[in-house]
Symmetry: C2
Subunit: 625 residues, 2 copies
């Protein structure tokens, strides 16, 4: 891959993974020690001392290992692999003879294992370990970390289950459910799938496991079951509730299990939840979770822009879920949401140089209020170097490192192209090894030139996603317009007998659109967001001066697209004639008409904001007719 994603992928390889390694090893002088690998050393008997860090500190190492696994697929790096192998050796040494592996409990609470899976992330850490193991095994073929995972899961199967003497419970933070499906798929061991199904089926059942578990611990504090989606059996959940990341990981596992078991009731729950999230509880950037409190969903259409919590990890979780829904059902609605999150609310989480991160991604930032109001303490006007709870940076890293998994899929009928990016990938289509080369400047330009290479000839459908923002998609095969193609559920299907050198030209004209939110979204009333291709745009103080709320644009104002190498590396920015309210006097309230002055308003892609002089930012701009 090159261009847009290859640049991000390079950042992950060259900046994020090495930086993370230093973080894990407490070798990064600019931030406080994470103690992550040191905890493993202590658990392995190679060092002494106390456990330090978050209770789920182990998962940072697993996410790093997963990102390394993905990265090594296309970018072999023997030095990095040696580093990973050495840490895998350490993990093996830390693992207990019965397979148990969680350094917090091994080091700090050896007698309290499995007594608080609601709050203490044991099963969550196991899930990330599995995901890291699967990715590393898949790219290197090395089985050691996979074996460590299997031993841990075998131990978990001895501990959890319906049988007498086992804990009939499930994790407070979902994650292992989807990881077990991955482990099943690489090992073929059905019992891993069964365990995943057990965790999902048990969730929310009466009597409530978390209540019983707390009672045993003597913990009588109140608990919001919805926080961990344990307020009702999953098949009865129709609205997205509680902690947004947890919800996304659960729904991802539900989709996986619905597919594996052809479970219609589970699929139906997934679809209901999908409707609720994407039609009522999602920001235009793909951000989800509109409340800082419990990092949670709130109520339908409650999407305040200045207090959006919209954790980067939650948008990543939405992509995981959407990707699984897409595998069940080839419908453009899933790809549209993947694009929405990927190009906007996720990439905003990382600076253009890969060195700083937003945990929280609001759609409106007024630094003066954010820094002074106590109901906005999580809104940071600038990206931070790292976080105490460092879940988001490694989560971005593993997603970006695996971006090619989102490009294509294959079924009995043909080859599906879900996302466009300059790239070269091999896929197996009905026994034919097909190399697909995409040449495109997407997401900045809608022209995509695809060339196929294969041995001999093969008949199959080439099925290309037409994003919902695109109204006039045109396709040519070897220069000839294809007229008979219709777009069905967001995909255009071209059947042909293909052979090497066949060229498919897809044109997705990019016009800048004014997007309205549903009138129930009170925060966006009277406003539009500008979208070009999959990119949502925003205003920044550095271009437009302070007080962005004073700016409005006319409904019919012409939008100019400009590229200037000196501005954000030459990505397309928008220029729109607009007006700025100006006070008639320094009175707070006045009966006279508002005065205006004409201004040229500059919009930049949302994900790229705060990469120059920090200041105000605003996505939704007022319109005047």
């Amino acid at each position: 891959m090159n261009s847009f994603w290859s640049e991000r992928s390079r950042l992950v390889r060259e900046e994020v993974i090495p930086y993370q390694w230093r973080m894990l090893n407490d070798e990064e002088p600019s931030t406080a020690p994470s103690h992550t690998i040191e905890n493993f050393r202590i658990a392995a008997g190679e060092s002494t001392g106390q456990y330090q860090g978050m209770v789920f500190q182990d998962s940072d190492l697993s996410k790093w290992l997963e990102a390394v696994g993905f990265s090594l697929r296309r970018h072999p790096n023997p030095e990095l692999e040696t580093l990973a192998d050495s840490v895998i050796d350490l993990m093996e040494k830390a693992q207990e003879p019965n397979g148990y592996l969680d350094t917090y409990f091994i080091v700090a609470k050896p007698d309290e294992k499995w007594t608080n899976v609601r709050d203490l992330h044991e099963l969550y850490c196991a899930g990330h370990l599995i995901e890291g193991a699967v990715a590393y095994y898949q790219s290197t073929g090395k089985t050691k970390i996979l074996d460590i995972s299997c031993r841990l899961v075998d131990h978990i199967m001895e501990t959890f289950g319906e049988e007498d003497g086992k804990i009939r419970g499930y994790p407070g933070h979902e994650e292992i459910e989807l990881a077990l499906v991955k482990l099943y798929r690489v090992t073929g061991r059905k019992e891993y799938l069964t365990l995943s199904k057990f965790f999902v089926d048990e969730r929310g059942a009466e009597p409530r496991f978390f209540a019983k578990e707390a009672e045993v611990r003597g913990d009588h504090s109140s608990y919001n079951f919805a926080y961990s989606q344990s307020h009702a059996p999953v098949r009865e959940q129709n609205t997205a509730e509680g902690h947004a990341v947890r919800a996304m990981y659960l729904y991802s596992a539900m989709a996986d299990l619905a597919a594996e078991y052809q479970d219609e009731s589970l699929l139906s729950a997934c679809r209901n939840l999908w409707d609720n999230v994407t039609k009522k509880r999602m920001y235009i950037t793909g951000g989800i979770g509109s409340s800082q409190y419990e990092e949670s969903f709130t109520v339908d259409f409650d999407l305040p822009n200045d207090r959006a919590y919209t954790e980067t990890c939650a948008a990543i979780g939405l992509v995981f879920w959407a990707h699984r829904m897409l595998q069940i059902d080839t419908d453009g609605i899933y790809g549209d949401v993947i694009d929405r999150a990927l190009y906007n609310g996720i990439l905003s989480g990382m600076s253009l140089d890969g060195k700083k991160y937003f945990y929280v991604n609001p759609l409106e930032v007024w630094p003066s209020a954010a820094l002074n109001r106590h109901d906005m303490t999580t809104v940071k006007p600038e990206r931070q170097k790292w976080f105490g709870c460092a879940c988001c940076p490694p989560n971005i890293a593993r997603l970006v490192a695996s971006i090619e998994d989102y490009l294509y899929s294959v079924d009995a009928d043909g080859l599906y192209v879900h996302t466009y990016t300059d790239s070269e990938v091999q896929v197996d289509v009905g026994g034919h090894e097909v190399t697909i080369v995409q040449r495109t400047e997407y997401p900045w330009d809608g022209q995509v030139d695809i060339e196929l290479s294969l041995e001999g000839r093969a008949e199959f459908d080439l099925v290309m996603r037409i994003p919902s923002w695109c109204r006039d998609a045109q396709v040519r095969v070897n220069g000839e317009p294809v007229d008979s193609c219709i777009v069905e559920r967001g995909y255009m299907r071209v059947r042909s007998v293909w052979s090497s050198g066949d060229r498919i030209s897809l044109s997705l004209p990019m016009v800048t659109q004014r997007i309205h939110a549903h009138p129930q979204v009170r925060a966006d009333a009277g406003k539009v967001a500008l979208q070009r291709g999959p990119m949502i745009y925003c205003m920044e103080e550095v271009d437009n001066g302070e007080n962005l709320s004073a700016i409005s644009i006319a409904d019919d104002a012409k939008v100019l697209v400009e590229r200037n190498d000196s501005v954000l590396g030459g990505i397309p920015i928008l220029k729109v004639p607009g007006r700025r309210d100006v006070p008639n006097a320094e009175q707070l309230y006045e009966a006279t008409n508002m005065s205006y002055r004409s201004v040229e308003v500059t919009f930049v892609p949302y994900f790229s904001w705060c990469n120059r002089t920090p200041g105000e930012m605003l996505v939704w701009v007022r319109t005047t007719s």
Copy 2:
């Protein structure tokens, strides 16, 4: 007084004062016991048990006594007076031989008196006791409660001061400063004024008293000095900081002292603070304090409507301060702010039947969000019967009961009419006893007919406030237009030799105005508030359906004023043609143009909202050109 204020005054007499009495006595079955009078009984040795309630519980009794004092001025009530006398006897019995009186410390912490005046409201309670005493003495002429207060203040003077062995400190919650000025004015004892000045002058001086006091207590927790306006000497404070009620009580005392001492530096600080509050930190309703956290001011122009804290007591405090500023300087800006707060953000605190209260008065309420978002826990969609911290209801009561103090003032040049209301009041103008009868439906109608009665003839200026919202005030004397009058700093001055039967007709044409906020108020961009006379209007769900944010009105839409006895007792409501956004499809985000339907929008006075079916409310409405 009759009509508008007489109805509120009647509510206070017939509903609030009796209800409060039952609350103070734990005789109100609908709410939890307050324990207020029981604490006095225990302190007096008439009962046994533990102290219960807030640490400042005593002040509720004092505020009740103050309201009773004001009420008895015009509405003698021997039964009520007997009740008050009996509770004064109890207070006397509770007072310690050295004058000390605070039942929390007497009963619960006898060894910790004066060790934490930062947090424990001892001096605050003393202040309210003084204010209650002054009001009760002034209307009844009875001195017992005044004597109790003087004994307490004498004790405080022995305890606080610059001299060695005394505490060189000041209260965490200002209140006693302004009360001491009142006590000085009724007793003539200058030392009370000196003590007030001492408290004000010491505030914020280095080394910080609250730091030293905490150190002595062994309290090493952090403290935000701005919370109690102790971050800098008061003369160096230019922006309103911290707890809004505390700030208002402090600024009121500063204005009093500036007047008493002709202290220019103190007056200059008052003026700077006035500018900051009224030009940058005040809602259009007169509400102040835009953050729930520490019930505080935040930063300039940070006035979110849905999370406005705007405690009723803070707006009341603003009226106290404005009234004092007005006494120093006859400028319409003060009366305008008094009206703004009085008719809007204060009266909204009490239901039309006087039985329920808002502590917090936001300008936008969406119950669904308010009830579910944890950053809006203080926003109540309905008024409450009473509060655990019941500061606001008695504060409204004492203000309404003393409303006539805001009508007139007199100086060497003449008689000033500051506020219009149907009323009959006697004032002494240069030795002439003048009875002024106002006949008016103000604030609903701008026609005010004034008739004077006096012995013989007297030459003086009749100086009438012309509210800033009024552009074409007309005045006639005995039917003849007065042409030569000009409005200067918000007042129109008519000099004449007056005699009984002179009639002054003042016409203040009430048109409905569209008010814009300063463009820096991001929350109000693109919106207007409707104001008619001094009244700010709002939309309610009961009239306009749910989702008020979907409604907009045209810049030039004609506003009709309607009165309908079946709607809120026939007060003027507004009807404006507008439009409502309607979704094109059930999509969250759409590139198609927004659709609209025409609607007739109903606006009701803000103070009267939530007196019918509860639901959404919105002051600032979007406009379209």
